[in-house]
Amino acid sequence: MTIITPADSLKQTAPRTPFQDALRRLRRHRSAQVGFVILGFLVFVAIFAPVLAPYDPIKVLTDVTVRSKPCIHFFGCPADQPQHYFGIDGNKRDLLSRIIYGSRLSLQIGVATVTFAILLGTILGATAGFLGGWLDNIIMRIMDVLLAFPSLILSIAIVAVLGSGLINALLAIAFVAIPVYARIVRASVLQVKEQDFVTAARALGSSQLGILMTHVMPNALTPLIVQATLGIASAILDAAALSFLGLGAPPPTPEWGLMLGAERNSLFNAPHLVFLPGLAIILTVLSFNLIGDGLRDALDPRLSNVQK
């Protein structure tokens, strides 16, 4: 038999760190749970797309009719016909395979644009906050002006300059998102800059960059993570919108917005070609929105007391 000394019991009930606290709240958050399940499914589909997709997403099939309805044996489709769970698109391609491959692109689009925007936003925001003075003024006024545009309209104008195409559309979307992150980082810098522990770090000889990395960024992390998750959602929506207008990914890329846009005129005779890619977009965007809400509630309990 072991004897539990007071010291041991103290060790056992060691207080949770704030991070563990946040993680606990996140795990218990209902909408975050749903969001993670959907996102997990999407990531799974994206990773195993070559295995899951029954056909090549770009290859034109020969033995099918254009825009034919979904053919599933279980629901009474003749057994001698090949199964196409989501039907055939306007170019005789298997829609299911295209949607499966589309998940790769959408997730990449979301993560890539937001990463780019965060990097540039952090650099700009940190520069503005740390150096202050006229540089701060110039940078932040430019950010204000960029925020004065409706974001999609500014992206469209930028694509007009760069020319249409997936990469250009992504650059435009990322560029338009920069001001939000610059503001967050700058606010955190200003909050921390004058505090004693930063002065102490400076007295100990830390460089500006060192202070930024060890003292400022951890403070900015919470709002950045929340904003980034919600930002991924809107980046995916905007990219789909640009592709829908024909300004983003070129055919035959399996991009959901493009697939929807290409088939919008056959809405009345082949509605599945419009509905299904749209549902895929909704599911993806929804998962990030739900996780974003959960993260906000978990990481910043002050904000969440009302929303429960």
């Binding site: 545009f149 300004l247 749209g278």
Partner: protein, 358 residues
């Protein structure tokens, strides 16, 4: 109060200046020489030099920017390469449609968003609340154009033959048309701003039908506006409903609301006379911010419903590299967005005396 308004207006000017600067700078970043874009690839160097001289492209960049500002101030947005006519003409023709959709969608989203928000705040955790909040989550995740297409499918095809059928595309039914206000009132030739205003009003079909008393046309136009407005308004509706809910919940927990209840006021009086007035500032802010997504949404949805607005023209202009049109629409939409937010700022002062005195 005057001081408050004056200060807001002063803050407004630099933003307008910045917007024009950004669009001007974007135009300078266009790849290729402007002269080849205008005169065609076969233009000789001498022709190009003459073109640059004529268009003032050899002047210092700041002089060019100054000229651009001056042009905008006089309502001159250049010439469309594709249609070879003044861009201002195109704007007066196209903008009314987009604004009709935007304002209609705003009305829809604000009214229903606030109602749903109040409903879910007062019946917290009830079925209404849960469904509304789940709906709001899905609502913000929906692509506008997808919702537009889905609505078109449901109301134009599924409900075909029922009284609920709604036309899926176009601005007016075929055979419907309106006289321009010039013709209707037999106005004399006008120039400048007055002519522009009259043309703009003529092209705003609902407004035109209203003041010329063409009720059949008005009905038809509104009927065609339903689906686009619902599609465009759904995302802002979700955001407004959420904000109304959380803002109202915050206020409902305060002591003065409990006092109001203790005084024996009815639930409705407490909500509308006491709580809602204090909850309204964040709601108005969200409505103002949604204006941007409403305009973007209108631009996107026009292509779905084949409406002759800014969006359809804008996409065509980008694909044919008609940058004057893109630039003009960008500036105008951004101006309208900033102006809407200015109105929101000013409305704070009317709604909350504390802000006025700051």
């Amino acid at each position: 109060m005057t001081q408050f308004i004056a200060r807001r207006l002063l803050l407004f000017l630099p933003v307008l200046f910045g917007i024009t600067f950004v669009t001007f700078a974007l135009a300078r970043l266009l790849p290729g020489e402007p002269c080849f874009a205008t005169l065609g690839e076969k233009a000789t160097l001498a022709q190009c030099a003459a073109f640059n001289e004529r268009e003032g492209l050899n002047d210092p960049i700041m002089v060019q920017f100054g000229r651009y500002l001056n042009d905008i101030a006089h309502g001159n947005f250049g010439t469309s390469l594709k249609d070879s006519r003044p861009v201002t003409e195109i704007i007066l023709e196209r903008l009314p449609m987009t604004l009709e959709v935007t304002l209609g969608a705003m009305l829809f989203s604000t009214i229903f968003g606030i109602l749903l928000g109040i409903l879910s705040a007062t019946r917290r955790n009830s079925a209404v609340d849960v469904v509304t909040m789940m709906g709001a989550n899905v609502g913000v995740s929906m692509p506008v154009f997808w919702l537009g297409l889905t609505l078109a499918y449901f109301f134009a095809l599924t409900l075909k033959g029922t009284p609920f059928w709604i036309p899926p595309s176009g601005r007016l039914s075929s055979g419907m048309s309106l006289l321009s206000l010039n013709e209707f009132y037999q106005l004399s030739e006008m120039t400048g701003l007055r002519a522009a205003i009259v043309t703009f009003a003529s092209n705003t079909v609902t407004f035109n039908a209203l003041i010329t008393g063409r009720w059949d046309v008005l009905r038809d136009a509104l009927w065609h506006l339903i689906l686009p407005c619902v599609a465009v308004g759904t995302i802002p509706l979700s955001i407004i409903a959420r904000m109304t809910r959380s803002s109202l919940l915050e206020v409902l927990g305060l002591e003065y609301v409990r006092t109001a209840r203790a005084k024996g006021l009815t639930g409705r009086q407490v909500i509308f006379k006491h709580a809602f007035r204090n909850a309204i500032i964040p709601i108005i802010t969200v409505v103002g911010l949604s204006f941007g997504s409403l305009m973007s949404g209108a631009v996107l949805t026009e292509t779905v419903f084949a409406l002759p607005g800014v969006g359809t023209q804008l996409v065509g202009a980008i694909l044919s590299r008609d940058y004057a049109v893109v630039q003009a629409f960008t500036v105008i939409i951004a101006f309208i967005f900033v102006f809407a937010n200015l109105l929101v700022d000013l409305s704070y002062a009317f709604l909350d005396p504390r802000i006025r005195l700051q």
